[in-house]
């Protein structure tokens, strides 16, 4: 099994959800995160004082998938998240040793 993790632009969430649902993925976890990459932050001015906001708000999308589906889901996710401009984010996968469904105790691919 693999964990696909994507950092995406917040407004792309609906497209990304639709894309991975189309590949039969049953569940997804989304968190609001902040960070920086090549995309610069921005400055805000309050009563003449400048504030630099260098951490940009993003969404982190995490999906557990079977080894066989990992590439497909990753590609679909990347396509859905892309706008072509700087700050589109990153997607990576990691190997997962074990998964347990809390309600039933099922383990491994059955728990996906």
């Amino acid at each position: 099994m693999r964990l696909v993790t994507a950092i995406i632009k917040p407004f792309k969430l609906d497209d990304v959800k639709a894309a991975i649902e189309a590949h039969g993925v049953a569940g997804v976890t989304v968190s609001e995160v902040q960070g920086f990459g090549r995309q610069k932050g921005h400055t805000e001015v309050y009563r003449g004082a400048e504030y630099t906001v260098d951490l940009v708000p993003k969404l982190k999308v995490e999906v557990l998938v079977d080894d066989l589906d990992a590439d497909k889901v990753l590609e679909a996710l990347v396509d859905a998240a892309r706008t072509g401009s700087i700050g589109d984010g990153k997607v990576w996968t990691t190997a997962v040793d074990d998964v347990v469904r809390v309600r039933t105790g099922e383990r491994g691919p059955d728990a996906l």
């Binding site: 968190s31 001015v45 009563r47 003449g48 039933t104």
Partner: protein, 439 residues
């Protein structure tokens, strides 16, 4: 005493309630500008000021402000609100009050409340609540009482010289602005200022507060006519007009200087206009009030840069908005006053009145500023000798809300975390059953 006018009494009592609302409004105006960990500390100082001054006013400071007996400070004849069947000293002839003295007491109380509350903007995030409370008691007695006597009471020396202050440009705003500067110096800078970023945590609160101030200010200025009459209507229109002009002035300066007009600038401009029109409201024409508003809206956004140039941490710009706004407004009386608006007033420089009135206005400004700054500084220092006035470094980092009051303004996430942060997984996983339970 002259006959009581029921319409005037109703308007002044309603105005007192309007002015009361300004202090919670101010609390939100300031509360939105501080960091989220200090918002309750700010709200609490303002809310508590209502309670503290309400008691001190009844016991002693009303009598110091409006009692007779001296040019410098009132006597204690009205202490504890005794002798309320007697007219307020000095209001005689054409200036005789047509409202019960008790209505005047409560209307003026609300001015005495908001003035020390204004100071909390310059001292944001670091003034210990336990030191703030005795400060407000002493300040109401030693600063507000005498200064209100000088300018508002017909028995006061600046009033007798002919200085005009319709609703408190000197008594409230120059006074609070100078006191705010003094307390910012007594307490010192916030930790990390000006290097660390201290963004306003809730700009909508700032606009909510500014809106409440604007609303309440109609009581402040139009109520100061002490009657439901033509003068009150003039003051009402002038107040609104100058505020509008200052709002537009401030956001224009921002647009030219920084490229964008901001909501915080609009709120600040409105308040600067309200401050500046306060002394003028019952003396200038509506066109004059536009000039007053434009001057305040143009000068105040530039004046707020002084704190960074001179290195004093007037955190929420009490000096830039209230001191400068109060000075601009008080001097504008000397320029734009016209007896067409108020036959009991005078003509200013631009209406053929010469430089005399402007000179008296300048004297009033300088006297109030100097007295307020010096006495406030001394009060602040003396309290600091007896008890600690400032939060400790640790308390300042934790924030006023938890450190002073044991509360948090906001529930940030189910884990009680910092909001948006990631929670790490427990190091040891709970044992997992090997057989399925349930379906």
């Amino acid at each position: 005493m002259p006959a009581i006018d029921t319409g005037a009494t109703a308007w002044v009592l309603a105005s007192a309630a309007l002015v009361l609302l300004m202090t919670p409004g101010l609390a939100f105006f300031y509360g939105g500008m501080v960091r989220g960990k200090n918002v309750l500390g700010m709200l609490m100082q303002n809310f508590a000021a209502i309670a503290i001054v309400s008691i001190v006013w009844v016991v002693v400071s009303y009598s110091l402000a409006f009692g007779g007996g001296s040019d410098i400070v009132g006597n204690l004849h009205f202490a504890g609100l005794q002798h309320m069947s007697q007219a307020v000293p000095g209001y005689v002839g054409a200036g005789a009050q047509v409202i019960p003295p008790m209505a005047f007491v409560v209307f003026q109380l609300m001015f005495a409340v908001i003035t020390p509350a204004l100071i909390t903007g310059s001292t944001a995030d670091r003034w210990k609540f336990g030191a703030f409370v005795p400060f407000v008691v002493l300040w109401s007695i030693l600063v507000y009482g005498p200064v209100a006597h000088w300018v508002f009471s017909p028995e006061g020396w600046l009033f007798k010289r002919g200085a005009l202050d319709f609703a408190g440009g000197t008594v409230v705003h120059v006074n609070a602005g100078a006191a705010g500067l003094a307390m910012a110096l007594v307490l010192g800078r916030r930790r990390g200022w000006p290097k660390e970023q201290m963004r306003p945590h809730n700009v909508p609160f700032v606009l909510l507060g500014a809106g409440l101030l604007w609303f309440g200010w109609f009581g402040f200025n139009a109520g100061s006519a002490l009657g439901a009459n033509n003068l009150a209507a003039y003051a009402f229109v002038n107040t609104n007009t100058a505020t509008a002009a200052a709002l537009l002035g401030w956001i224009t300066v921002e647009k030219l200087k920084y490229g964008k007009s901001t909501t915080l600038g609009a709120a600040s401009g409105a308040v600067a206009g309200l401050v500046a029109i306060t002394p003028c409201a019952g003396f200038v024409s509506p066109l004059g009030s536009i000039a007053v508003g434009v001057l305040a809206g143009g000068i105040c956004p530039l004046a707020i840069g002084l704190k960074t140039r001179f290195g004093f941490d007037d955190s929420l710009d009490v000096v830039g908005v209230h001191l400068f706004g109060g000075v601009v407004g008080s001097l504008c009386v000397g320029l734009f006053a016209t007896i067409d608006t108020n036959s009991a007033g005078k003509d200013g420089l631009f209406y053929g009145g010469g430089l005399g009135l402007l000179g008296e206005q300048a004297l009033a400004v300088v006297s109030v500023m100097g007295y307020s700054f010096v006495v406030t500084f001394v009060i602040g220092k003396v309290i600091s000798l007896v008890i600690r006035s400032r939060l400790t470094a640790e308390e300042e980092i934790i924030g006023m809300d938890v450190a002073m009051h044991g509360e948090s303004a906001y529930e940030l996430g189910a884990a009680g975390g910092t909001g948006g942060g990631t929670q790490s997984l427990p190091a040891v996983r709970p044992p997992v059953p090997t057989t399925g339970v349930g379906t």
